[in-house]
Symmetry: C2
Subunit: 186 residues, 2 copies
């Protein structure tokens, strides 16, 4: 649930420190609660988290939110939008204060076109995401919310990740009321 990616992190750190790309890559601070990407809007930048935690979530038209995953150090956001040339699929929001590398679209396109290592890392990352997303999706559809909650609580303590009840409910895809009920009986 809290994903990190050391290969990406060291890759981008090295790239950043060569100072060759100071116009295309910079490090920026995002206060807690601020948005890195806004669902539906044009993705004009790509982010790689350096420190802190963001949440990646859909806002549906009925006002409900669904959290896909929490992105920590080394995780990339906005790359799907560049590859497929679409507007932001979902929101990326800082859950804690966040430091992130901000890359321009051209530099990412150039990395995609010319850098085999970057391509390989990205392929691995996307594969990992598909595995996570699809197995969680299957699990949540086929097991009771109670099972999913147990798993969530385990993951949470494993990653020492403390999130609000509202976010927990949004991760499980249920209402806050249902979550409270389950926490009460357990």
């Amino acid at each position: 649930m809290l994903r990190t990616n050391n290969s990406f992190l060291s890759f981008i750190q090295q790239l950043y420190e060569t100072k060759k790309h100071h116009k295309e890559i910079h490090l920026k601070r995002f206060p807690k609660g601020s948005r890195l990407l806004q669902q539906g809007e044009k993705a004009s930048k790509i982010f790689i988290v350096a420190e802190g935690i963001t949440k990646c979530y859909f806002s549906e038209e009925n006002g409900k939110n669904y959290i896909l995953e929490f992105l920590g150090a080394g995780e990339i956001a906005g790359e799907l939008e560049v590859i497929k040339n679409i507007n932001c699929l979902c929101n990326i929001e800082a859950v804690t204060e966040v430091q992130a590398y901000v890359l321009t679209v051209p530099i990412v396109k150039s990395l995609l076109a010319n850098n085999p290592l970057f391509n390989h890392m990205l392929l691995t990352e996307l594969a990992e995401r598909i595995i996570n997303t699809s197995s969680r999706s299957s699990f949540q559809q086929l097991y009771s919310v109670e099972h999913a909650l147990k798993k969530l609580l385990m993951l949470q303590s494993e990653h020492q990740l403390s999130i609000s009840k509202e976010d927990m409910a949004a991760y499980l895809g249920v209402t806050l009321r249902s979550l409270n009920r389950l926490l009460a009986v357990k």
Copy 2:
């Protein structure tokens, strides 16, 4: 829901017809109902569908199934397993009679290592899958099954895809009983 991929299809057709790789690539027929990949087992081959339709689904330990998507012409299966070096994530089963190109692991690894076009196509394909999987997952978690059913029926007629009630239920992540109830009132 019924995914196809023309770039992959023509790519593999050309590769197959050069006859340089007759040991690593061959075309095989799969009768309706047979398995191309079996969840949990070693993925010793990679498939690209030439004709027909397969379903890609998880079998959970509680006996229930969840259908991720239907794969038609040009769709690839088993590539995640090669990239991440894991056992089969889910089952791939022929829904109709299927013709598929069967590739060995070494040829796929070599394509991954040496063929930029293949890499690019695969990156695009994985990006597309993440978009599909995650937006469907969000939709199904946050809207009523009734909404999801409407969408499914639309997609089905759009793709002229006729599937059993059981498969429809497995796609929606509900029981057959619930599906029947919804179909009755509508």
